[in-house]
């Protein structure tokens, strides 16, 4: 009995610690990985001629936070920049056909 | 250099309507240039319209007036063919003057 009740509790603890980790322990390595991913997505958006101004400004905010040693904020901003860049790539891809819906014919 | 002042004055026999456009940067002193440095204030302080040696319109301007300002007003007592004189002085001491015939 004691075994079965203990397991979910342990699992919950593990999950909680995973979810909470980035909030208080972003390292320079975390930031670098997040920034590299964001930069790659951003470059793809530029190549598609669909870059957003907010991707650019969020990327530079990440860099600025990292320069001042705030890796929590830097990592969060880099992740946001990556999400923005990915959204712009999605826009570029879906608009390849979707633009026709707006056309006057 | 052409004059910085464009004027048109028309009379309907009783009232003379004057319109003027003045070329001037009218920098407020609060705007930054591309390098992020403040552009120093540079604006017209006094604009004057004279008819027969008498002031008919005097404006004391400040930095809040827009670039290349436009003015329109009317006054009584002038005849077609008469001349009006327009002049401005800015905060750096520069000035310009021109005259226009009322048509």
């Amino acid at each position: 009995m004691s075994k079965t009740t203990g397991k979910p509790f342990q699992l919950a603890l593990v999950l909680l610690s995973i979810a909470a980790t980035p909030a208080f322990a972003a390292t320079e390595a975390d930031y670098k990985a997040a920034y590299a991913a964001a930069e790659a997505a951003s470059k793809e958006a530029v190549a598609l001629r669909h870059q957003w101004t907010t991707t650019v400004s969020t990327l530079s905010a990440a860099k600025k936070a990292a320069d001042s040693g705030d890796f929590d904020r830097a990592t969060a901003a880099a992740k946001e920049a990556e999400a923005l860049a990915k959204a712009s790539i999605y826009q570029a891809t879906s608009e390849k056909e979707a633009w026709k819906a707006m056309e006057i014919r | 250099m052409a004059s910085t002042i464009r004027v048109r004055a028309t009379s309907n026999g009783d009232i003379t309507e004057v319109q003027a456009l003045i070329q001037h940067p009218m920098d407020s002193g609060f705007i930054k240039d591309a390098k992020g440095e403040l552009i120093p204030a540079h604006f017209i302080q006094e604009l004057k319209f004279e008819y027969n040696g008498k002031d008919v319109f005097v404006a004391d301007w400040g930095p809040a007036v827009s670039k290349d300002p436009y003015v329109k007003f009317s006054f009584k007592g002038a005849k077609k063919g008469d001349e009006i004189k327009i002049s401005w002085v800015d905060n750096k001491g520069a000035s310009d003057t021109t005259t226009a015939k009322i048509s």
Partner: protein, 287 residues
Amino acid sequence: MKPRLAILLGSVAAVLTALVAASPRVVAADKVDPAADAKAFQNFFFQKFPKLKPEEFVNGPYSMDEGLKRQWQEKEEFPPYEFALDAGKEMFATPFKNGKTYADCFANGGIGIRQNYPYFDTREGKVITLELAVNRCREANGEAPYSYVKDEMASLTAYMAFTSRGKPFDIKIPDDPRALEAFENGKRYFYTRRGQMNFSCASCHVQSPGERIRAEILAPALGILNAMPIYRSEWSGMGTTSRRFVTCNSQTRAVPLEPQSDEYRDVEYFLSYVSNGLPISGPGARP
């Protein structure tokens, strides 16, 4: 069972009719037919604004709002682009260091030709805008090129547009697959959503002309380039078509392209072509 079958059959029939109805449009969309596109484009605006005469569309927001129109008519007695126009006239007449002038570079001495730009150069396989032609003229005569967005370029083209006022846009698409491709690319650019705001050019200038965006009234896409270059009060100065494209892009939070990039040239080609027949009204004044 029976009612279900009926519904099923009914929906199959509906799908079939939808397919039949849709198929000619699909075929039409894949074939590039600029003349048909221009006709449809103009008809859309004529039907949306039945009270306007075709030539009134070139006045942009002033054709959409009575109060704004009255203010503008008064302003036109003393237009804000007058200084730029005078400067442009002087620049146009001033010879280069080698003694030649702009008149040597253009048909008809550069007077009254705005309505023919942009044109498709079949030798180069690209769209040539007036601004591009001006800078090529300068470079061919050993002069440094001007900025494509404002100042000298806007003044010079303001004068060239002024000498062309009233002449109908006469953009030609030569029988060249690259010209059709440029037109098609321009059309795609015009309708493609971009930027974080997810706006296309058409979101404002096809779907919402006459509506307000903050304090401004949106201009219709039809005839929008006929007024270029423009003095914008917001800029406190003159700007070219490139400047307008750049600011439109950044307002939708899209990183603007380089002025005179292929995309901008193509969209200018498309937009000018679909306004064929409407008179040049540039230089314009806009809020």
